[in-house]
Amino acid sequence: MNPGYLFTELLQRRRRSLAVVISIALGVSLFISLQAYGAGYRQAARAPMALIGADIAAQRQGDVPEAFEGPVFPHSTAPIHRDEVEAIRSLPGVESVGEAVLFWDFDPDQFLVVLGLEPTVSIDKAVGPGRLLTAVRDGRFLAQNDHLKAVVDVSFAEENSIKLDDTVLIAGRTFSIVGLVDTSRTGQVANANIYIPLVDAREIAGSAASVLAVHDFQKGDSNILFIKANQAQAENVTEAVEELLGDQSLVSSAQSFGKVLGASFQLIDQFGWVIGLTGLLVAIAGLLRSISSNLRERRRDIALMRAVGWLRISIVKQLTAEAVVLSFAGGIAGLGIASVITFILNQTSVNIPVPWELSPTPHFLSGGALEMGLTIPLPAQIDWITASAALLLAVLCGAGVGIVLAGRAANIKPAEVLQDE
């Protein structure tokens, strides 16, 4: 194979060469960009749960409270019993489970959203709202063995002029405020006004007439579980948890968030490969047509190669190399275009609607019916394995096209061509 001759020929037909490079570049960039777009949305769908350090949030629907007096469980947070929690903990793929008890406290003077959580000492071990450990603005976070201690959402504290070391009355119990936390940094899942130790929340719920009137809440039960699962098994875990919690289960995961991300994502998620591959194949068809035209135009040159002693394999190598160079150049250009498209996609943002069952605020309160959503920059990123595969596919298709067409061209009978004129 002679590189000088190769590039001379490609440059001589620079318009056609450029058209081939552009068409392959568009095919490759479409293929890679769609994957980057889809991957960005999939990543975005994980964000609401990732912000609280879990992969799955499990709840169960229950009866509506008979009266909104004192502590009540929201409709979407019926008890999850101890044996069910243990069964979930032992599911294959479950790495850890964080338990919580969420309740609304309707007192004559105030309404509170309260979340009882397991105090966390280390962020590495925190699953669920325990990650608020990193969001402490003032004071400290809840610690092991804390009792009647609370940390308060900083915006709630500002609205109600609550300060560190103040006390707050929850279901007739006085809690000392040991810390203020900025919940805006941990997303909108499992947000509350006040966070208290799980043991206190269980005690309040277990003795609340309004809770017990509609729920069989027992000591050790929870009403929200935050599950960290092996990524490869997350979908199976989600299904298993749904099955364990029965018909009334409300299980949120990256998959369930993905389902509400809109039709374009659904389309790209399901058909991205097909659309991308189709684009790539259309580009390869363009390459086929172009190389075919090139070889038709160069019949005389190919006949001459044979006449002056080129072996068939030498001709095939030379002509195939041209197709490979064009497809490789197209692939690299496509990668460049895909990088630009991905950069532009990163400048856009995506709104992930948070489903009503994860909203801690009652719909009948002011602002409670507002649609919640998490808006983040679209984390589109090129998967280098996909990019390499697209590049390899383009080059292999180029080589295939070259071998087939050059193989046919090399069968030329020089005597038939070189006596025409």
């Binding site: 002056v308 009978k413 005597a415 070189l418």
Partner: protein, 223 residues
């Protein structure tokens, strides 16, 4: 005669047309031979058979005593690369390549370095009086210059035999005469056997031996 190439009873048909009929001829190592005939006399087909560009339906061709008729196309290509230089009426230079690159073109598939290829090509270009036009493309050269480049290309492999199909056919008479002088010079100085196909009696007159063809057969052999 010290025989280089022997054709024995060559026969070639294209469909119903008998292009070459029972042609036998012998080319010596230093022969300057012309095959003459009118259009359709079968002279070009005969040259293609001698060059291994066509296979005879019957008969055989011996080169240095070895029968090349049964060789496949790749083996024939290799044989041409090692022993034969071809010159065509329409020159058949690659339009995208310079004169130098066109001359080196038969060597492209070899393992020779680019530097060595160019060295040999320059030598051949100088030999045909085209040393000053190395960088020029065919479109920038006159017909006579293009044919000189084509002859340099035919010489690049140090062939034993040059087969030229109407080498002066696209040239004016003066330039044609110069090309004939060049071929004669190569024949004498490099000891290369030359076989020329022509329909022009004046060109044929330059040869040592003239074979006349008519209706695919040899009808005359004049020394």
């Amino acid at each position: 005669m010290n025989s280089l190439l022997q054709a024995e009873n060559l026969h070639k048909t294209f469909g119903q047309v008998e292009a070459v009929r029972d042609v036998s001829l012998e080319v010596g190592k230093t022969d300057f031979l012309a095959i003459i005939g009118r259009s359709g006399s079968g002279k070009t087909t005969a040259l293609h058979l001698l060059a291994g560009l066509e296979s005879p339906n019957s008969g055989r061709i011996l080169f240095q005593g070895k029968d090349i008729s049964p060789l496949n196309e790749d083996s024939l290509a290799l044989w041409r690369r090692e022993h034969v230089g071809l010159v065509f009426q329409s020159f058949y230079l690659i339009p995208t390549l310079s004169a130098l690159e066109n001359v080196a073109f038969p060597l492209y598939p070899s393992s020779m370095t680019a530097k060595e290829r160019h060295r040999q090509a320059i030598t051949r270009l100088k030999q045909v009086g085209m040393g000053h036009r190395q960088k020029h493309r065919p479109g920038q050269l006159s017909g006579g210059e293009q044919q000189r480049v084509a002859i340099a290309r035919a010489l690049i492999n140090n062939p034993n035999l040059i087969l030229a199909d109407e080498p002066t056919g696209n040239l004016d008479s003066e330039t044609g005469a110069e090309i004939m002088q060049l071929l004669r010079k190569l024949n004498l100085e490099d000891n290369v056997a030359v076989v020329i196909i022509t329909h022009d009696p004046e060109v044929a007159a330059e040869a040592d031996r003239v074979i006349k063809m008519k209706d695919g057969k040899i009808v005359g052999n004049k020394y």
